[in-house]
Amino acid sequence: MGSYVPNTKEERTAMLSEIGFQSMEELFGHIPDEVKVKDGLKIPEGMSELEVRRAMKKIADKNQIFPTIFRGAGAYRHYIPAMVNNVISKENLQTAYTPYQAEISQGILQSIFEYQTMICDLTGMDASNASVYDGATAAAEGIAMCRERKRNKAFISAAVLPATLEVVKTYCFGNEIELEVIPEKNGVTDIEYLKEHIDTAAACVYIQHPNYYGNLEDAAAIGNIVHEAGAKFIMGVNPISLGILKTPKEYGADVAVGDGQPLGLPLAFGGPYLGFMACVGSMTRKLPGRIVGQTTDQKGNTGYVLTLQAREQHIRREKASSNICSNQALCALAVGVYLASMGSKGLENAAVQCTSKAHYMARRLEEIGFCVENQTEFFHEFVTVSEKPAKEILSALEKQGILGGYPLDDHRILWCCTEMNTKEEIDGTISILKEV
């Protein structure tokens, strides 16, 4: 059995005896017998470190690692600079709790302040929180923060990630916000539908940009319609795309959210990722979760603290703007290190490579008979339709260690390219597909 208890049996007995007990059983003697576990827990016996390593390695080996990936759909493989893992492995940062004691947590607090600044700069917004769980929960929290007394209805585009829609629905079941889905038309949000249906009960409208199919929405036009109705405009964005695409601010959004996973976090079978949230200055006090602010100590030294806590659960209890307590701080640190390692030019380069390679691959697929469905501009994802069943196409690629695009239905595939996909890889994939 493994153990992380330092005290030996003898030391434990001595401690027990010092406080007046003969045994552990006696120490737990005040717990009623009716509720006690009788014959021990029915889980396997413990193991040494070497045995555990072998057992877990065996489990990990049952997974197939794909050296080449053309699948996104909410989780993206990007290059992670060596600095990222180095920093998040530093034990002072990794093993600390939420920085309640500011004087010994200046490193963590400063890293969050830097993260907030980078998220604001990326999105063009004025204020950012310290992160929430992921992009989908950020969308749900974004909708909740727009609710007003006489506006209890939210609109969400059908062209968002399925997980985002699902999570938003679940949160709305909880907080009883009325939700209406704006249908998609030709792969983008149906603007005419929105125009007809939005009214003064609308608190907000949520769209994703680039959307689920990789398409760029006419975000500015949507923003105008939303604001004319007096509602708030929320944009869910891919952070890498912001290296070259207009910011939510430039499109007129009030709230910008998204999943930070592309910024330095591994695929990791879906988590931990990170949800980022930023907004215009007038909505700062509606942001959920932790926020770090700059201040000074008695001697005038600059320092950082958790601030605007009057929004939060430990102060406001049931009147809090959200229940969030633990967020994804270490992931926020990773995002900060990623953006600092890439720099403005590096981020722009990554974004340019993503979209360039996706366009190259789309063209090559068209050359061999695939039909690219996207009718508008797209970023790094696109949809193909083929006569051959998607299943056959993807399984042919799988045999060669390639994870193809995500099958949307029997004949439609959602492809994704990032800077990780080389021209050679794309050309090789096209050669395999020619044979199918």
Binding site: N63, Q94, S128, A268, T307, Q328
Partner: protein, 476 residues
């Protein structure tokens, strides 16, 4: 100095090769015009920047961290290495099922072990943190009542000693909160509970041991009272580290539970996450769990529950955190899990015993994994507050206990040593606490001015909130 102030135009790291296909850029309508201000630093400058930030932080590995209710136990290194295996780290969440059998096995084994430890029948690993688990658990309760055509249960009972997340989560799940006062012993006041229950009550949220560190002996009666009125019982698993292997929430009458893998199951807190907050439930609620579940024996499958409340997060939760927790459970096993809890309780009682010669305990009886001191008498006699003692501890490289919680104890300090601290560490900390007490009596002023050895002194929180500066301004 902020990273932006160290930035110099033209510096940077060499991360990506040149683009090997024809370059495509967005058209005018969608082209970014706003200037980007990401830092431009050489790699060595970056490396030093983060090393400096690490030096100005305090983790479990820097010293004793008895932060009550947060279970700051040691984070085993093997867990980190296992979570970094490419076989876990490089797996896309939407890969075909037959290529992710190992990941599904992790989920299945974790669910089985956690169900056994808590006495529950089914579990979802999707929630990302404790509060997220609370929200999920409350939605299960809501779905359960609605499925029975019972829409009138709109209230949740929460004791006034509860964690702040409990009432906040209840509100997010659309419930109004009925707060009931604790009895003089810090436990649930049965009379007040009986008065509160009725056919408008969806359930009760409770932690046992409670937030003052005591095991509520009336627990079976409490859960009976709630069940008799048709309500459900929710167990806040923040304090599970006290009772593993001794008592199971499921056997105490609880129907729903959330766990904090980042507390009880040794995964690092990361300065405030990522955590993991699995939600377990009894069989009668299992059909409402979030939709993705693992099924099958030889070949594992992902299945969708028909009546599930829907997803609470993308994909399958904070998977790598679950990998760490499973590694921990496999290391400790049946006996080690029980041993951990027993020693958490022993360490807490030992430390309380040593401290109570001077410090006033809020409840002077056998505690579980944590105990609460009240410094209200000390404050009256010397002017030294719980905050002052906490700040004094910083100068001795000890992370202070949780301050001013629970709300029912004045000038509270909530101490949770955990099982991974040795007798010497506790003895040394007790020595520091005693020294600070004596200092309070002799020279209160010095404690009002603590800390003096940290990178900054006490910070002006009022200023931070009144004139919020939440980001660096590039215009200056």
């Amino acid at each position: 100095m902020l990273i932006f102030e160290k930035s110099r135009p033209g510096r940077g790291c060499s991360t990506l090769p040149a683009c090997d296909v024809e370059v495509v850029r967005p058209k005018e309508r969608d082209k970014r015009e706003l200037k980007l201000h990401m830092p431009e630093l050489s790699e060595v400058e970056l490396s030093r920047h983060y090393t400096e930030l690490a030096k100005k932080s305090h983790g479990v590995n820097d010293g004793f961290y008895p932060l009550g209710s947060c279970t700051m136990k040691y984070n085993p290194r093997i867990n980190e290495e296992i979570a970094a295996l490419p076989g876990f780290k490089e797996i896309h969440p939407l890969q075909p099922e037959h290529t992710v059998q190992g990941c599904l096995e992790v989920l299945k084994r974790s669910e089985e072990a956690l169900c056994e430890i808590t006495g529950m029948d089914a579990m979802t690993l999707q929630p990302a943190a404790g509060a997220h688990g609370e929200f999920t658990g409350l939605l299960l309760m809501k779905a359960y009542h609605h499925s029975r055509g019972d829409q009138k249960r709109t209230k949740i009972i929460v004791p006034d000693s509860a964690h702040g997340t409990n009432p906040a989560s209840a509100a997010m799940a659309g419930y109004s909160v009925v707060s009931i006062p604790s009895g003089p012993d810090g436990c649930v006041d049965l009379k007040k509970l009986r008065e509160a229950v009725g056919d408008d009550i969806a359930g009760l949220m409770l932690t046992n041991p409670n937030t003052v560190g005591l095991f509520d002996k009336n627990i079976l009666e409490i859960t009976d009272i709630v069940h008799e009125c048709g309500g459900l019982c929710y167990y806040d698993g923040a304090n599970l580290n006290a009772v593993m292997g001794t008592v199971r929430p499921g056997d105490m009458g609880f129907d729903v539970i959330h766990l904090n893998l980042h507390k009880t199951f040794s995964t690092p807190h990361g300065g405030g996450g990522p955590g993991s907050g699995p939600v377990g439930c009894k069989a009668c609620l299992a059909e409402f769990l979030p939709s993705v579940r693992v099924d099958g024996e030889e070949v594992l499958r992902l299945t969708k529950a028909e009546h599930g409340i829907g997803e609470v997060k993308s994909f399958y939760g904070n998977f790598l955190v679950v990998v760490r927790a499973l590694t921990y459970i496999m290391t400790l096993g049946r006996e080690g899990i029980t041993e951990a809890s027993q020693n958490a309780v022993l360490n807490a009682n030992y430390m309380m015993h040593k401290l109570k010669e001077q410090y006033q305990m809020a409840y002077d009886e056998v505690c579980m994994h944590e105990f609460v001191m009240s410094l209200s008498d000390l404050k009256k006699s010397t002017g030294v507050s719980a905050m002052d003692i906490a700040k004094g501890l910083l100068d001795h490289e000890i992370h202070p206990p949780t301050m001013y919680f629970p709300l029912i104890v004045e000038e509270a300090l909530m101490v949770e040593p955990t099982e991974t601290e040795s007798k010497e560490t506790i003895d040394e900390a007790v020595g520091v606490f005693r020294e600070l007490y004596e200092l309070a009596v002799k020279d209160a002023e010095r404690l009002h001015n603590a800390p003096v050895s940290t990178p900054v002194g006490r910070l002006d929180e009022v200023k931070a909130a009144r004139h919020p500066v939440l980001r660096y301004s590039f215009d200056v």
